[in-house]
Amino acid sequence: MIVAFLFLASMTLICALGVVLSRSVVHSALFMSGAFLGVAGFFVMLNAPALAAFQVLIYVGAVTVVILFGIMFTQRPQVRRFSTIINRQTWAGLVATIGVGSFLAYVLSVQNWNYTSPGNGLREVADLGEVLLGLNGAPPIFGLLFEVISILLLVAVIAAIVVSRRKTGEGVDRGAEE
């Protein structure tokens, strides 16, 4: 357990730092999928294998591909100098971030979570489905949340099409001419 935990934690955190600090945008996207794979490994360790499958399918598959398409549409993949990718707030941002991170880590580790023990998770996919529909002791609000989420996804898909579509009569993509 400890070996797997240390491996996954180092993989996740190093890939997260790589997203922030790599000079090529494509490398950032690939580092991001590595961090998502690390989190999927954590989900397997935490007795949520169905959620780990969702994570691999949605994040490592779909979100990474969509973001790579966004990179391809908006810029040529090129390595830039380090000072051009980062704005002037680097050190102030680092101080604020270290403050937030150490505060969160301190509070979460000092807090007394009494009676914690692993293994309370829903290992069966059927239990997860009952939770998502608010059945059998799960909070019944989940049934409403499930419907709201499906409406939200439909609205988001339509909004993405409407926002990103080329207006009629605009002709070729102006970004492609340069």
Binding site: M1, I2, V3, F5, T12, L13, A16, V20, S28, M32, F36, V39, F42, F43, L46, A48, L51, F54, Q55, I58, Y59, V63, I67, F69, G70, T74, Q75, I85, I86, N87, Q89, G93, T97, V100, G101, L104, A105, W113, Y115, T116, S117, P118, N120, G121, L122, L128, V131, L132, A138, F142, I149, L152, L153, V155, A156, V157, A159, A160, S164, R174
Partner: protein, 116 residues
Amino acid sequence: MPPQAQELLNQLNATLPLEGYLVVGAIMFAIGAWGALIRRNAVVVFMCIELMINAVNLSLVAFADYLPDAGGVGVGYAVLVIAVAAAEVAVGLAIVLAVYRSRKTVNVDEVNLMKG
């Protein structure tokens, strides 16, 4: 098997405390917040926001597995968070494409007008 090796094996197989997962989630959240603060490229800012969402998901699933009264409901919340994050990526990248089409840049320092 010698007793030292058995002891080492027991230590390696011991259950992890809840705080380990929570601290990893907190550090990952902080790294994502740092990237969202300092990077100039809007697409990379989106990636950092995804990192923060994943860190929160990790904390939710850790609580669902470790707290006995939670009933494993945190996994359901994590599924909802994943759906909202997917919707956010779709709309956000569409906005980035629209901004790029009219301004020819995705630098968040230069995009300061909603109407261009």
